[in-house]
């Protein structure tokens, strides 16, 4: 900052660097990159990996939701997989009663919202640590509910869910499942990106970084936390719906405390607070167990996951995305200095 920039008279027009001038080409580039990457699995992969890719899409919806809650709002939930479970089991119950995917989805969103309200409204006016603990209890509650309603939910043995049928698409076909999952995943991503451009998104960041500063400009801290929790629960519910439809089988271990911790690992490793990080995290959480299984060491996955979470959180708190960004900035920073010295 120099004296010249400070005393410079006000400009008449909008400053191009502040305005939204560069938004449109950037948006188009991003959509194009997304489309190209999305086209890879159906064109290049065999059925099994297309099936895994479809699961990545489902889990991306979940990690995007957790990222909104943890990465942007700074609130810790240890029941995110349980909310996926709420979605998955709601789907199952609706499906056994003859409802199609659209009605299932509507019910999933409704149930997820109600469950999230019950957990978040009493706790979120309090400090963040308490939310983490109450979500733990919620996870236990869900496990208990499934255990004790074998007739309705299939109990500890799990349950087979009918595939989604949209016209000629049938989610028991990997390629169809992938195409079906692509739509909600893309919508969820678009909303998550858009959220960063809204005041709602900025409120969340302010709550994460300094509740005092947030209050000082008029942000309703508790309401912002509840909103973030509701959004994240709906994302998790939709992810559970997709997961149930894609895999066709759900069981309590898919949604227990460990599953929630893995989602957490995913978001932290990918890079908390970024949409790209959530996607990287989703890929990690689905593909890494496969990699270890292929390597003949499936038991190593939880060990590596735990160690990675602790190490990444300590050493590179911004995850892979943060790491990449630092490298990129260093490269660009050098170039920028050269330009300025000319």
């Amino acid at each position: 900052m120099t004296g010249t920039t400070m005393t410079r008279p006000r400009r008449g027009g909008k400053n191009p660097t502040v305005g939204k001038g560069r938004g449109v080409p950037r948006l188009l580039t991003r959509v194009a990159v997304f489309a190209v990457i999305a086209a890879v699995p159906p064109l290049l992969f065999d059925d099994y990996w297309v099936f895994m890719s479809a699961q990545v899409l489902a889990f991306a919806v979940a990690t995007l939701g957790l990222d909104i809650l943890y990465g942007r709002t700074g609130q810790m939930s240890l029941a995110h997989a349980s909310f996926m479970g709420v979605g998955a089991y709601t789907t199952y119950v609706m499906a056994t009663n003859g409802y199609g995917p659209a009605m299932q989805l509507a019910a999933v969103i409704g149930v997820a919202l109600i469950a999230a309200l019950v957990v978040s409204v009493p706790t979120l006016r309090l400090s963040g640590m308490r939310l983490a603990l109450v979500t733990l209890a919620f996870g236990e509650l869900l496990a208990w509910a499934i255990r004790n309603t074998t007739d309705l939910t299939g109990g500890t043995q799990g349950a087979s869910v009918d595939p989604f049928l949209f016209g000629r698409l049938d989610s028991s076909e990997p390629l169809h499942a992938y195409l079906i999952a692509l739509v909600p995943a893309a919508i969820a991503t678009a909303f998550a990106v858009h959220l960063g451009r809204t005041q709602l998104g900025r409120r969340m960041l302010a709550v994460r970084d300094s509740e005092l500063a947030a209050e000082s400009v008029g942000v309703a801290v508790a309401r912002t936390k509840v909103t973030a929790f509701l959004i994240s629960a709906v994302y998790a519910g939709v992810a559970g719906w997709l997961y149930a439809g894609i895999t066709g089988f759900i069981a309590p271990p898919d949604f227990d405390l460990f599953a929630s911790v893995y989602l957490f690992v995913a978001v932290v490793i990918g890079g908390a607070g970024t949409v790209l990080g959530a996607w990287l995290g989703a890929s990690y959480v689905v593909l890494m167990p496969e990699v270890f299984t292929l390597a003949g060491q499936p038991n190593l996955y939880p060990i590596v996951g735990g160690a990675l979470l602790a190490i990444v959180a300590l050493v590179v708190p911004d995850g892979i995305v943060g790491l990449g960004r630092n490298v990129w900035r260093r490269i660009r920073g050098v170039r920028g200095d050269e330009e300025e010295s000319k």
Binding site: G3, R10, T17, F191, T198, S210, S216, V217, G218, T227
Partner: protein, 264 residues
């Protein structure tokens, strides 16, 4: 000093604030003229920050009341006071360190009428109108403070002086009618202080408001403020024009005579 702008005058009556047994403010009755920049001075432990906290709602008040214009805001919480037009900066800069300057400033638009959360999330037309309005406000204030070129830089990459300005920009972006700044020049060098004074004067000309600045630097107070209030050990000491207050024997005694031993 003009009151035509509609900026309200700020008044406290018999304000007492306690931290346990310690009385941080004792029966303080002050009146800050509408539409002026007032300086709040006093040695360390005089209760300057506490007074700011009490006016902005960050400290519970034991006795007394706070008024903005004709409105008694004593019962309002921090957030409601902000919405009523009282916005403050902090002594230690509180920013979202990993976010851009622009994002940090835009947070300050919370006071402007924002569409509800669902409308924002679903990108309804009201969200786009609000966004354009907020961007215009942020652009203007960034220009005014000379931060336009850094708008997309991350805050933690900026030098300290710029980060202070970012916080000031966050306060100013919604054009609040009462602006409370807690040692905005702390940690700045001489040049930075003068620049800051110039910026604040310019801001005040463009957006009339009742501004209160806690400050130690006598020269800065003299050049910036048209009115000064001196506190000492939690009690009101003197008010008036800078010349009157700094010429007062009691103020000189409190400020220079035992300033070194007054760290409470």
């Amino acid at each position: 000093m003009s009151t035509a702008s509609g900026a309200p005058h700020v008044r406290t009556e018999g304000l007492t604030v306690r931290y346990g047994a310690f009385q941080a403010l004792r029966d303080v009755t002050v009146s800050l003229p509408a539409g002026a920049i007032s300086g709040l001075i006093g040695p360390n432990g005089a209760g300057k920050t506490t007074l700011l906290n009490a006016i902005s709602g960050f400290t519970p008040i034991a006795e007394g009341s706070v008024h903005i214009g004709h409105r008694n805001i004593t019962a309002l919480g921090t957030r409601r006071r902000a919405l009523a037009g009282v916005v403050r900066g902090f002594q230690t800069v509180r920013l979202m360190e990993r976010e851009s300057v622009l994002t940090n400033v835009l947070v300050g638009t919370e006071r402007l009428p924002q569409p509800n959360a669902l409308a924002q999330f679903l990108a309804l037309p009201s969200q786009w109108r609000a966004r354009n309005r907020d961007m215009a406000a942020a652009t203007e204030v960034l220009d005014l403070l000379g931060l336009a070129r850094q708008a997309h830089r991350r805050v933690d990459e900026l030098p300290f002086a710029s980060r202070r300005l970012v916080e000031v920009a966050r306060v100013l972006v919604s054009s609040p009618s009462v602006i409370l700044l807690d040692e905005p020049a702390a940690g700045l060098d001489q040049e930075g202080r003068q620049e800051l004074a110039a910026v604040l004067t310019r801001v005040h000309e463009n957006h009339p408001s009742t501004m209160v600045v806690v400050e130690h630097d006598v020269d800065l107070v003299k050049s910036l403020c048209s009115y000064v209030i001196a506190l000492d050990s939690g009690a009101f000491l003197r008010d008036g024009t800078p010349a009157e207050v700094f010429g007062d024997r009691q103020v000189q005694l409190a400020y220079f005579g035992r300033a070194a031993s007054a760290d409470a």
